[in-house]
């Protein structure tokens, strides 16, 4: 049954933790670095998994974009972009191409080729054009469309083949830093986060903002849907991560600790959504119990900011990328 919300204050708000007494506490939690990927000559800024559950693409400050088989740690492809600070990269659903962009204000698609004589850059396709840096990009359900977020304050949906702008999304009052596509059955929405401290949910078809959340105190660096699609988490420079429920239309959890004073740069859920992994600018990764609101574990290893973090498609591991030039696979 559906009813209008009681309109309670934040304290009376039935936050997730209140019903979570019925959920068992998590036991000892051990995760270790299982692979370290070395090869970038500068800060790693972004990474994405291939659907094959083992390959990844990563991009860095010096313009290098590398495709790895992270299981063997072998590098399979590398391309140097004509710009620095490649802040966004994504793997195509087919596994046959990658997309990336950054200070060039564009999003480009590179087909992956194993031809000895072919230069990856030769087949490069310039798809998206923004008026400021590209902060995030993601393919939709196919290789044929890309969703982008930019420092120009907008998001946009593009047709890869023609480079045509299919839809643009205006509403953020400042740079958009992140986006994530909804896993819902209808496949029609996505969420974005920006420097205006807002997380906004968009209808891809109409370009309209359908929901908006503004409870963070600073830039939202990362947004990620809860696996059911009914909620999403955010990570912010205000050193907190939060959970927003789409049906209740409000924030339902805050993940914070007094000793965590550096911003959260990147968040992702474990397969069941019980755990939230968050990479921080203090070089650590904190693991949160999504339902109980408590921190389960803190992972050390990186020697500089953790800038990007994604759980693998089958949930067996997650990958973190850092300003220390490396990527790590944790399991």
């Amino acid at each position: 049954s559906v009813s209008f919300d009681e309109g309670l204050s934040n304290h009376q708000l039935s936050a997730v933790h209140q019903v979570a007494e019925r959920v068992e506490a998590l036991g000892q939690f051990v995760m270790k670095t299982r692979r370290t990927l070395k090869g970038h000559g500068n800060k790693v800024l972004c990474m994405d998994w291939c659907k094959d559950k083992r390959r990844i693409v990563s991009s860095s400050q010096d313009g290098k974009v590398i495709v790895w088989d992270s299981f063997t740690t072998n590098k399979e492809h590398a391309v140097t972009m004509p710009c620095t600070w490649v802040m966004a990269c994504a793997y195509a659903p087919s596994g046959c191409a990658i997309a990336c962009g950054g200070l060039d204000n564009k999003c480009s698609v590179y087909p992956l080729t194993f031809e000895k004589n072919e230069n990856m850059a030769a087949k490069k396709k310039s798809v998206a054009m923004h008026t400021n840096y590209l902060s995030a990009c993601s393919f939709t359900n196919s290789d044929m469309q890309i969703l982008t977020a930019s420092g120009d304050g907008t998001c946009a949906l593009w047709d890869v083949e023609s480079g045509q702008l299919l839809q643009s999304f205006h509403g953020h009052g400042a740079d958009v830093l992140c986006l994530d596509l909804a896993p819902s059955e209808t496949g029609n929405t996505f969420v974005s986060g920006g420097c205006d401290k807002k997380a906004m949910v968009w209808d891809m078809r109409s370009g309209q903002c359908v929901q908006s959340f503004e409870t963070h105190d600073s830039d939202i660096n990362s947004v990620r849907y809860y696996p059911s699609g009914d909620a999403f988490a955010s990570g912010s420079d205000d050193a907190t991560c939060r959970l927003y429920d789409l049906r209740a239309d409000r924030e339902v959890a805050i993940y914070s600790k007094e000793s965590i004073i550096f911003g959260a740069s990147s968040v992702d859920f474990s397969l069941s959504g019980r755990l939230l992994f968050a990479g921080y600018n203090d070089y650590t990764i904190n693991v949160w119990d999504v339902l109980k609101g408590s921190r389960v574990s803190i992972l050390f290893g990186h020697e500089n900011r953790v800038s990007t973090l994604r759980v693998s498609p089958d949930g067996t591991a997650f990958c973190s990328g850092s300003w220390d030039h490396t990527l790590r696979i944790w399991a």
């Binding site: 400042a174 929901q211 209740a248």
Partner: protein, 474 residues
């Protein structure tokens, strides 16, 4: 590097944009202030540095212990946090001052004077740095360490016109320092040293002040003016929106958690083993998109919701098998897949795909005519006169719901599904290796980009579903 890069000096670097007082600086300073609280702060005392006594100092241990007590964290976390504070120059070591590192032992440390806090004294000017290096140069009689020597020469060239002033100021500061007690001299030297380690890090050392590309780039006012009307519309819609009671939403989390945790490899492990941990890829082989016999967990998951079934290529194939036995069932699935291809396909092929869908599924007498209600059919047929990507949305949703509400529950009750469950495998856990030190060879796998010849790769990238759309039967 494009021309546009010139403007994009990362903040926190010489020549870059001035560093604003960021949140983390404020919070570190708050921590520092509470560390120095006369009652609840760290107990400071005299620390001995060889023969000199330094007042108002503490040991590395004191800092670590205090953080553990104050925040209820482990020693490892406390050491990490303390190290960050030292790296940012808010606390400096008296012993071995070249290295901004926190040691959890009796090494002496001191709080940096607020004068030298990054938030107060930024940006560090070239002139100040030149004077600092000149002082060192004079004191060490030219024997500077390499990167300081390089910087010194660089500055000498760059601000050559004020060099007399630099040397004069350096000499004056050295002379004034000689008048102080040895203890004070050491403290002032360390303070200055720590400040410059943060603001001019030696090569190879991380620059804690670096911020990344400048944000706040869009013209806020312009965007707001443009979207004023949109905002009003949004608020109107927001007020009218029905919200689900929080308690109901929260129940949803409990239920989802219960269902999915056993399937979460990080939470519950996976059988036979997690490939990342044991280097054994059997788990991936057994759960490949198309296998002859799926695992039990996988088949169970198809029963959670329709989405799980239809989005798993193997599940979808099984659904297809089931639907073949039903009237028009198979056509429904094909129609849905064709609509997905339209929604996620190339812009240039829209008219072509819409026509193909019409011919196969909607035209009177079509071989695989789909049964949608007359209103939706009417709307759709009208819509395809001007084909666009979303023209089939209503019809697609209708058919999807039909499969979900009707075919799916029957699928779950069918013998087909029951047999799948019965025959599904539960892999045995990989026995622990007898010689755990011998690493198993990590086998590579063919890249998805290699799996099909070039032409087919294009086909593959076009299709949103991993299962091929079934061939039309003649």
């Amino acid at each position: 590097m494009s021309a546009g890069d010139k403007q994009w000096q990362p903040r926190g670097q010489p020549g870059g944009h001035p560093l604003p007082l960021t949140r983390r600086h404020r919070w570190m300073e708050r921590m520092i202030v509470s560390m120095q609280d006369p009652d609840m702060g760290i107990k400071m005392r005299n620390q001995r540095l060889l023969i000199t006594v330094i007042p108002h100092a503490m040991t590395g241990n004191d800092i670590v212990e205090w953080l553990i007590q104050k925040y209820g964290i482990s020693e490892e976390e406390s050491l990490h946090l303390g190290n960050l504070i030292v790296k940012h120059g808010y606390i400096y070591p008296l012993k071995d001052p070249r290295s901004l590192v926190l040691r959890a032992d009796e090494s002496p440390y001191r709080f940096q004077t607020p004068y030298f806090w990054t938030s107060t004294k930024w940006p560090a000017t070239e002139l100040d740095y030149a004077i600092y290096l000149a002082k060192k140069n004079i004191r060490k009689q030219g024997d500077l360490i390499e990167h300081e020597k390089d910087n010194y020469n660089l500055l000498h060239k760059r601000i050559n016109h004020t060099w007399d002033f630099v040397v004069m100021q350096a000499r004056e500061q050295l002379r004034a320092a000689k008048q102080r007690r040895k203890g004070d001299r050491i403290v002032i030297d360390c303070q200055e040293q720590a400040y410059w380690l943060v603001n001019r890090p030696p090569p190879g050392a991380p620059n804690v002040l670096e911020q990344g590309p400048e944000r706040r780039n869009c013209h806020t006012t312009r965007v707001q003016l443009v979207s004023g009307g949109v905002q009003i519309e949004y608020c109107r819609k927001a007020m009218a929106r029905t919200r689900v009671k929080s308690s109901i939403c929260l129940e949803g989390y409990i239920k989802f958690n219960e269902q999915y945790v056993p399937h979460d490899p990080i939470m519950s492990g996976c059988l036979p083993s997690n490939p990342w941990i044991t280097d054994d890829t059997t788990y991936w082989a057994m759960n490949a998109p198309t296998v002859t016999t799926p695992t039990k967990l996988r088949v169970e998951r198809w029963g959670f919701n329709f989405s799980e079934l239809i989005n798993d290529p193997l599940g979808r194939a099984q659904l297809l098998e089931f639907l073949k036995k039903e009237f028009s069932g198979e056509g429904n699935l094909s129609f849905w897949e064709a609509c997905e291809e339209l929604r996620y396909g190339e812009q240039s092929r829209i008219a072509e795909i819409v026509d193909s869908i019409y011919q196969q599924f909607l035209a009177p007498g079509a071989t695989r005519w789909v049964n949608i209600d007359s209103k939706t059919m009417e709307r759709t047929l009208e819509g395809i006169k001007t084909p666009h990507r979303y023209v089939m949305d209503d019809a697609q949703m209708h058919i999807y719901m039909l499969m979900k509400k009707d075919s799916y529950p029957r699928f779950l009750k069918s013998d087909l599904y029951k047999n799948l469950l019965a025959e599904a495998i539960i892999p045995p856990e990989t026995k622990k290796r007898v010689f755990p030190f011998m690493r198993k060879q990590r086998h590579s796998s063919p890249s998805p980009a290699l799996l099909l010849p070039a032409g087919d790769a294009e086909e593959r990238s076009r299709s949103p579903s991993t299962a091929p759309v079934p061939e039309e039967e003649s």
